[in-house]
Amino acid sequence: MSFPWAQAYEPKTGLTKFLDERLPLPRFVYNAVGAGYPVPRNLNYMWNFGVLAGFALMLQIVTGIVLAMHYAPNALVAFATTEHIMRDVNWGWMMRYAHANGASFFFVVIYLHIFRGLFYSSYKAPREMIWLLGVVIFLLMMATAFMGYVLPWGQMSFWGAKVITGLFGAIPLVGEPLQIWLLGGFAPDNAALNRFFSLHFLMPFVIAGVVILHIWALHIPGSSNPTGVEIKGESDTVPFHPYYTAKDGFGLGIFLLVLMTFVFFLPNFLGHPDNYIEANPLSTPAHIVPEWYFWPFYAILRAFTQDIFFIPAKLLGVLAMFASILVWFFLPWLDKSPVRSGHYRPLFRKFFWFGLIPTMLVLFYCGGAPAEEPFVMLSQIATAYYFLHFLVILPIISSIEKPQPLPYSITEAVLGSDKKPVLGENASPAV
């Protein structure tokens, strides 16, 4: 971190002095998530979700590795080994429920993290790279979660895999051969299950790698904050440790309380009953739906029912679904308002709360509903607004909007004035 007032690491014991001259890992940790990282003093609880996402990723890796010790990625026995984990493996039911619900809550945390970024425009300069890497992490997560859902080899696993890989078939000319090559066959079978398992095991480590880049990029400009005003001096910051380690510890407690309530008391609430029926290529479920965290994007996929000239509706749906996430990559350049925080942007705030958020809720609901009226028509209106919001409304309001006056500094926002010395002798934590 480059703030000149950042506390400097001083090795005290013989071991840390020895390490510091050879492999300064303690220094690295101290500067990354310790007292050596100055953070804005005014972060609210929306800033907890980065740490929680990191925790959720580790939880998925740990439970996943244990599950992989007992699971067999073979179409003949995959479903049976999943039940073997549930019934015969010691604590297997807990591992599997923690992994399945852990995935859901990983997405809950990530969606709140993205929501924070959108409302406070954390994507703006100089933090574009953090945002871009974040979108990459989200895409990797979607791929990982999709392949993980195939592994129990239930009915929704199979038919979900068939529908999603079928999307590649919509690509002109190369679509069909590409789909067969990706699946290793004409429909999902042993070849697909095996490669999905292999990739599902690999991708979390790829995600962990991109997470490191994400945090590295974060440490160049430092964390943003609810006012969107950059750090001006020492009185604007507190050291990450112990202030934010303590705050994140409390957030982690709340997160675990919610997650464990689902694991132990509502373990199948977020799942679909059909996935407790073994995959059967000859019997199509009445309604094929993905996991809840994909519903908004599934609604966009299904919203396109009419061809436009030579472009078939299916291809339009696939393009729109991918575009709905790819558009996030361009946000830092679409939203040119010099003000970051939604708190000081009256017009942006209106469209955010009364446009984007209801749209996402409608898309979410329609994506989980059967492809019938009125859900299709609702999702079509919502899809139109979704694209208009990011690609048309956001660029326009960022040029015409008159932002409200910003505080001079974070300190002024917190204390009402930036004159008093705040981090005097009382600044050290009372522990």
Partner: protein
Amino acid sequence: MIRIIGILAGLFFALGVLWSFVTGAFTAATEGFGEETAEHAFHEHPLDLELSSDGPLGTWDVPQLQRGFKVYQEVCSACHGLQYVAFRDLADLEYTEAEIKAIAAQFQVPGIDPDTGESVLRAATPTDYIPSPYPNAVAAAAANNNAIPPDLSLITKARHDGSAYVYSLLVGYSAIPEELKAEFPDFSTPPGLYYNRYFPNLNLAMAPPLTSDGQVTYEGGSPTIAQMSEDVAAFLTWTAEPTMAERKAVGWPVLGFLLFATILAWLAKKQIWSSIKPSRKD
């Protein structure tokens, strides 16, 4: 430049999907949302069923599970297997080792004659899984008018409102209601199928398995169809997740510990931040 391309792309997708909307709305306006079907109008949600295993404190009612197993053994097992439940698992139902051996011996499973190596049927042992009565899916289909009786191990997890669904299906057989005949004269129940208002398409291939009170003899009484249905639904709730009681029992101390730890974390956070004026404005 990026914003001009963005606005064009945004308009393309928005107008494209609105074109779909307009066509769909036009179809709906001229043709309506499609005709009402008998399945949609007369299919009913499962009845309410209260089991002792419900809720965060719920646990097994072992005598009920034993009664349910008896119903399964005497009625359901004629067509349905429990391929993920081993006879040894019946120890959860408080059967003794000797009783489990005796129960297993009543079932035949495929084996190999140790002297000749030929495929034979042998009496099951506690380590075997409760078999389907049919040697394979083709035989199951042939014996049941092409409808394969599903394995019941996971049936209460594999249906919405699982236990209530099983219970409702067992008590839900009836003749086709007069109102249905009046509203949908074309609706019929083909031969070999049975009208059941809790089955999604109303025509179920399973013949009514419980037809008279006292069909299964309970110790000290003759149960009603509803009683037997409830007991077997409870039993199949157990087969779907034998670890449920353990799960809930572990859950409470876990939540208790986490609550304690979270309160401590909150107090620590409060104390650490007390030396700094807290943020008023976000």
